[in-house]
Amino acid sequence: MSAPHPIGGLPTEALPQLYLDGVSRAFDGFKAINNLSLVIDKGELRAVIGPNGAGKTTMMDIITGKTRPDTGQVLWEQSVDLTKLDEADTARLGIGRKFQKPTVFESHTVEDNLALALKADRSPWATLFHRTTAAETARIDELLGLIRLGNLRDWMAGSLSHGQKQWLEIGMLLAQDPQLLLIDEPAAGMTDAETMWTADLLKSIAGERSVIVVEHDMEFVRALDCKVTVLHQGSVLAEGRLETVSAMPEVIEVYLGR
């Protein structure tokens, strides 16, 4: 319906991992996403900020096929039309998502949580007759180390602390071995130390994977030290380094201003 917005600083040589153009979605007349366009490069780390109701969650819903956009196109690696797929498809395609409220499988052990997330055949038959392999165990150990839950592998996930659940969920994301990670407010409810550590973790992930982080916590965003997209009323208000955008009057007006 509308022409693609000019996007500042897109390195022309890199292939976009994800490409949203003129995407809109309304709920009962309220436009949650309004003519949104966004491009994420392979391996890019991108922070998305914006006030409540700016459409961050809906954007993620659209990318992961949970919500169908009314208009606009969403392309994966310039070929796959994500608007045709549902959550399971996009997940199998290599898009991992972490919810705002950490959701892990509370009645399974930490280990099972990771095991269930591991990249593998997801069909009922496969899972029915599945036997755990040494490779899988090794990968699980590795992840447990990475998210610092090695000593809790047999705990019920339900009994973990909030922060630990955050990490476990990130761990499950990594276990999926996705190309793109969508991460919704990872720092929520973490100590400063944990926050910083999480930021490092994400930066280390970026590079071979693309990462989109939605966050309120400016400290955290600054720590990420990456390109920032400011969403407002369902469309891109500004894009660039945090310093640059946070200097823009309109951004201050809608967001930092308060």
Partner: protein, 364 residues
């Protein structure tokens, strides 16, 4: 592991039953176990298998089916049709092909959907296929369109209610309100004979054991874990790339087949199958067995079924005038007093850490 403590104990109990009852009924002097008791136990065991089937979908997958009685009844009808054909020309009208009720409503030849039921193997396969097929078709649409929670429960109820009305209709050719009855024998064995009764009861016990083991095997497999995942956090499971609807469909169909088997074993032991088995109240009672025994524990479900059936048998005989008070009070007290069901209460503290946090919030 496949056989945990509670399952082991229960199976042992079943085994004792399988040894003690036939001995006591057929061989021991003075018949300490009366034939009446044999038929009764057999009936209870069928209920138990049905309860296990429901627990599989409700306890582990969060699908509260208020229509499981339908699968039970369909399995029962499939077996009943075989038993009807077994009667042959021994019916009151001595019609070699047509069951009495068809002669009675003036039908001239056997409707196509009765063909083949004179062969046991055919009937036996129908016992699995008919409920399975219904569950598959119903589930295919329902789970794909993401019907969940009470909406799912109520349309399963609508399903069994519609089937009940349909089977009431005499034009359906299933004996209408009277259903199928007056069976003579199964595979040549006289249904009146004590030996046959014992045999059927033992068969029911074996079926229950097999059902429990199968259910247990499913729930401890990774598939079982995925089921718990989608019970507790469905969308998370989707985002991990699991096709939730396929899993639900699988377990729903398996459960329906299990219910069908229970029904098939039930019919020859009670001697009648009729549309009231489809009534929504019956299906609700199944849910109550499971909840009362302990949801999500398989063994608990079986136990619940047996306890309620036992209570009914005793109360209707002891206090025919007021037994409903007792039964009602029992349901109320168990719900409030034993949130983890009878089994949970029995296993005490053990249950609390093992059992899942109540997923009901998410469903409602």
């Amino acid at each position: 592991m496949l056989i945990d403590r509670r399952l082991g104990i229960f199976l042992a109990g079943l085994f004792v039953l399988v040894v003690v009852v036939p001995a006591g009924n057929l061989w021991l002097a003075g018949q300490p176990v009366p034939t009446y008791l044999v038929a009764l136990i057999g009936k209870y065991l069928c209920y138990a298998l049905l309860a296990v089937a429901l627990d599989l979908v409700w306890g582990f997958c969060g699908i509260l089916s208020l229509g499981h009685g339908a699968f039970f009844a369909l399995g029962g009808y499939a077996m009943g049709m075989y038993l009807m054909r077994e009667i042959g020309d021994r019916g009151v009208y001595a019609n070699p092909t047509l069951p009495d009720f068809m002669v009675f409503i003036g039908w001239k030849q056997l409707p196509w959907y009765w063909w083949g039921f004179d062969h046991f193997w055919f009937a036996a396969s129908m016992v699995l296929l008919v409920p399975g097929a219904l569950a598959f078709v119903f589930g295919w649409f329902t789970f794909r369109s993401r019907v969940a929670g009470v909406y799912l429960s109520i349309i399963t109820q609508a399903m069994t209610y519609a089937l009940m009305l349909a089977f009431f209709r005499n034009e359906m050719g299933f004996g209408g309100n009277n259903g199928l009855t007056d069976f003579k024998d199964v595979l040549g064995y006289d249904l009146g004979g004590g030996g046959t009764k014992v045999g059927l009861m033992v068969l029911s016990a074996v079926a229950l054991a097999a059902g429990l083991l199968l259910a247990r095997a499913i729930t401890v497999s990774r598939l079982g874990k995925v089921l718990v995942c989608l019970r507790d956090a469905e969308s998370r499971t989707r985002f991990l790339g699991y096709r939730v609807e396929h899993y639900k469909l699988f377990i729903f169909t398996v459960s329906a087949m299990m219910a069908g088997v229970a029904g098939a074993l039930y019919v020859p032991q009670v001697g009648i199958i009729n549309p009231s088995e489809f009534s929504p109240a019956n299906s609700i009672e199944i849910v109550i067995w499971v909840a009362l025994g302990g949801r999500g524990t398989l063994v608990g479900a079986a136990l619940g079924a047996i306890l309620v059936a036992l209570a009914k048998t005793l109360l209707t005989g002891w206090l025919p005038e007021v037994w409903l008070f007792a039964l009602g009070a029992m349901f109320v007290l168990v719900t409030i007093g034993l949130p983890t069901g009878v089994l949970g209460a029995l296993e005490g503290g053990l249950a609390r850490t093992r059992r899942a946090p109540e997923p009901a919030e998410r469903e409602a």
